[in-house]
Amino acid sequence: MKLALAPSDRPFLPRGVRLAADKVRGGTVLLCPEKAIALDAIGEAILSRVDGSTSFKEIVAALAVAYDAPAEQIAGDVQRFLAGLRARMYLAVRP
């Protein structure tokens, strides 16, 4: 299976994966089965838009506006981040 998301794919966090505030260290963590991932501002910005109904293309477009950056560059960053999570089964996709 290819891990890369197609433009129309709608990613979501599957059951057992969730965002949480880290009260002690600060920031946001992605809580996954037997793993906690501290998110940087970019990771948080991406995952805050991952809701199962917004497509990959729409997420990229929204981030390009929010960060005033070219969509192609944003698309590469978002793809790397989301495909990495998908490889660990921390992210699922609806076509």
Binding site: G16, A20, P33, E34, K35, A36, R88
Partner: protein, 361 residues
């Protein structure tokens, strides 16, 4: 060093277990029911852990399902915001108990696998009928969609079934498979001659896992712990002593790792009598091997010291007779020959029958 807050806590709710796996990581002196902390004491420990910075809680044992208050403990952990993982053989779980655990907010289950057939699994687990009961509960978990990791503990007697093990993980709907080679602590150290895999098995396992990882991308994620006796360098045990995680034994004793009580000169605090934060930051046992300042040679001048921290303290004690020595698994250790001797001895016979994990008396 600046001591970071812990990320994960393993709560060994009980040492009681219907299985008798000869590689159990519990100590050889098993605690009985009367020694176990109460529901309220555990709930308080979970609360303290969350305040301290713990994000992930592993409910383990023994068999945690032996505790009738398991769902109540899960709810207490969820109430503190802890990500809650149940580490179980499946024995003692029922559809009704799964209902209660789901209602309590359980996040994830890690199910152990002793073998790929009833004959093999029940022999290894020392419990007739265990495999069939496990498979029934695995089907329940799949139907409900509870996130599942299959934890296959691998050794000489089941490594040849690795491909079937991987298939079973997919059939069960697991998202993740731990191919976890037996670590020679606790009961496994008594059964080493029976359990040590061969070098050929070890090499085959590496090939099989690498191939399956590619083939099952996006279907099943792998965590592979190869047999460390065949490694060139030691593992960074626990991600560094007193750095990432802690364990609480059934009676409230707080440990840097599950085998730490094998190190006789260490004194361990108890969460029943001392706050968890004080134990983590100031406890003598946690500070004994923290960081790199205590490291012996050859570790002190080794460029790997920040990645493996000299390896496993319990293994250093068991194989080199000194918990402060380099882990003898390391090829640079002056005591590495001890590991080579064990491999040589282990390859020559079946070592007789298992010494099963059972309570004394």
């Amino acid at each position: 060093m600046t001591v970071p807050p812990p990320i994960a806590m393993l709560a060994e709710l009980t040492h009681r277990c219907p299985l008798a796996c000869p590689y159990c990581s519990n100590p050889q002196d098993l605690l009985g029911r009367e020694a176990e902390m109460t529901t309220g004491e555990w709930a308080d420990a979970f609360h303290q852990a969350a305040e301290l910075g713990v994000l992930q809680l592993h409910l383990s044992g023994g068999e945690p399902a032996a505790r009738p208050d398991l769902a109540e403990l899960t709810a207490a952990a969820q109430g503190c915001g802890l990500y809650t993982n149940l580490i179980t053989s499946g024995i003692g779980l029922t559809p009704r108990r799964l209902d209660a655990l789901e209602a309590a907010g359980l996040d994830h289950i890690q199910l152990s696998l002793q073998g790929t057939s009833a004959g093999l699994a029940d022999w290894i687990g020392g419990y007739k009928g265990g495999f069939d009961r496990k498979m029934k509960i695995a089907a329940e978990i799949k139907t409900r969609g509870i996130p599942l990791t299959l934890n296959a503990v691998m050794h000489r007697h089941n490594l040849d079934d690795l491909e079937r093990t991987i298939e079973m993980a997919v059939e069960m709907g697991a998202r993740r498979l731990e191919v976890a080679s037996v670590q020679f602590h606790g009961w496994a150290s008594r059964n080493r001659a029976q359990l040590l895999p061969t070098r050929a098995q070890t090499e085959a396992a590496k090939r099989i896992v690498a191939e399956a990882e590619q083939r099952l991308r996006g279907v099943l994620a792998f965590d592979f712990v190869p047999p460390d006796y065949y490694a060139d360098y030691p593992k960074a045990c626990m991600g560094g002593w007193g750095t990432a995680g802690l364990n609480i034994a059934p009676d409230g004793t707080v440990l840097p790792c599950h085998a730490a009580q094998t190190i006789p000169h260490l004194d361990f605090d108890n969460v029943r009598s001392k706050p968890l934060a004080a134990i983590w930051y100031e406890g003598a046992a946690f500070n004994s091997y923290r960081g790199t300042d205590w490291l012996p040679q050859p570790c002190r001048s080794c460029d790997r010291k920040e990645s493996d921290f000299g390896g496993c303290r319990c293994q250093a004690l068991a194989l080199a007779g000194d918990a402060g020595a380099a882990d003898p698994v390391c090829r640079k250790s002056p005591r590495h020959q001890a590991v080579l001797d064990l491999l040589e001895a282990g390859s020559t016979g079946d070592g007789g029958g298992f010494v099963y994990r059972r309570a004394a008396g």
